[in-house]
Symmetry: C2
């Protein structure tokens, strides 16, 4: 059993690679929910949906988010009625949000996520980090912004000054997350190439998770989200620079504060400052397609075993 901690697109890609090479049922993907928000009265879980759609093979590979073969009639009709246009919801994607919102009145996000995954033919476990509300708030030079305001509406343009996870103090990790970390069959924990600050740190900051990870008996490795000091997608590198950090392997390892047994980095970062006292795997970490994902996943698993 492998546990992968993931955010959005990069995490979903490595999760898909791991799903391709591991026996069905031997992968648990724990997904950030700090980006979750309510839009048009609908409960949106962007990272959960990216991982789910990707593992189901339904994701749009061109735009990098949402569903392939999506249509946009709802958005056009909404525009005609004066509705908000800044966050785009496809007609198919909308079914996920409407049905989730309806079911959340009586069920946990964990239960709904598991059921959606099953219905879409996914045989791996997808688990939200928490069933409680955690809202990422971004402190910028234009004031504090809710994450999607910063990320989508403002396209990460304001200067990043810090981050706050509203509700984190009262949130419990999901029972599935704790069960996965305590599973006797657990072999390794993999932090996917997701944004350390925005996607992974909220998971690590949940009550009890840091402690469980520090008392683990299995290797914990991370895959750096940077290639040549830049993120493949998203604002990770921009954010780190705006915090005065350099997006190097050493900086990634520092974000995980002594937790790691090993770090996977790209050839392009081999010359950058490396973390001390940590095993390194230097490889081609760009995942262009499914074979890339499976190959990187295979290397990651083998590396994790060597780190044990």
């Amino acid at each position: 059993m492998i546990v992968a901690l993931a955010g959005g697109v990069g995490g979903a890609k490595l999760a898909a690679g791991l799903a391709a090479i591991l026996p069905p049922g031997n992968l648990t993907v724990v997904v950030n929910t700090g980006d979750d928000f309510v839009h048009l009265g609908l409960a949106i879980s962007p990272d959960i949906d990216t991982v789910t759609y990707t593992l189901a093979g339904l994701n749009d590979r061109t735009q990098g988010w949402g569903l392939a073969d999506e249509s946009w009639h709802f958005m056009s009709a909404l525009e005609r009625l004066g509705g908000a246009q800044w966050f785009r919801l496809g007609d198919n994607d909308l079914a996920t949000h409407v049905e989730r919102t309806r079911r959340l009145r009586r069920e946990t996000l964990s239960a709904i996520t598991a059921d959606f995954a099953k219905r879409l033919g996914i045989r791996q476990h997808i688990i939200p980090m928490s069933d409680d509300r955690v809202s990422t708030m971004v402190d910028t030079d234009e004031g504090e912004l809710a994450f999607q305001d910063y990320f989508v509406r403002r396209r990460c343009e304001p200067r990043f000054r810090g981050i706050r996870f509203d509700g984190l103090g009262d949130a419990l990790p999901s029972t599935g997350l704790i069960a996965a970390l305590e599973d006797p069959a657990l072999e390794a924990i993999v932090i996917c190439p997701s944004n350390p600050l925005l996607s992974i740190e909220p998971i690590l900051a949940l009550a009890g998770v840091d402690k469980a990870l520090r008392h683990r008996s299995v290797p914990l490795i991370a895959v750096s989200p940077f290639i040549g000091g830049e993120a493949v997608k998203g604002p990770a590198a921009k954010i780190m620079r705006e915090l005065g950090l350099v997006p190097t392997p050493a900086a990634v390892a520092a974000r995980y504060d002594g937790l790691l047994d090993g770090l996977v980095i790209d050839h392009a970062d081999a010359a950058a400052s490396a973390p001390e006292g940590l095993r390194l795997l230097v490889t081609d970490s760009l995942m262009r397609d499914a074979p890339d994902q499976a190959r990187l996943a295979q290397e990651v698993i083998q590396f994790a075993r060597r780190c044990g």
Copy 2:
């Protein structure tokens, strides 16, 4: 100024005819909201939407409800996730429900309906009968059913035994409805060819409406929804028969209990039992297309003036 009381499709057709022949702004359509319900967490107002889409020229004339050129991607995606299929929401139509649901947290249904109408280019006034919740409950031989359960899910198959408007005792008529009835410029009130029991009686039963109508100084006429003892659309005739009533002009007039100055009926019903002490206009009341709607509207207005 003409006030029309309307339910769904039949009422919307006559309202469209009235809109075509009256100066813009001289028509107020008061619409039943007893069919309103919450589905998938969304506030659905079927009659309001039918009237709005019809006056905007966006209605689907073939199926008789919803929007023309509708697409159904949302429903397909919802089916994949195990969501309810019995009430079908088109991708474009969905924008109305999502945006209305969102806005209802801070605004009245009246305000939202007026704004949607304006945005869709409608120059007539569309007013919900009430801004409070009224839910039509149908007593059948299979027990009491919420209206849409009876009407859509069960396709009106259970035997109709009676009707109850849940919430009606606490509901106030909308301020727009009262203002329209008190407007000094009011010339006539027209009850559209809608289901008397399901669509018109909830409007009439609102506190103060019956009294205002009985103290009116303008003619009040109704257009029978029956042609040859059958409804053009919907269960009106079936329901009346199941209540032991015969769908005749006399029965329609009786439902309105002495309120009417005149009744418009179809040639096909001219031989059926006529109400006593009431002016009758016998005409072709089937509205196949826009010219039919305008012609009937013209006859209705002229007849209403003669009833004054």
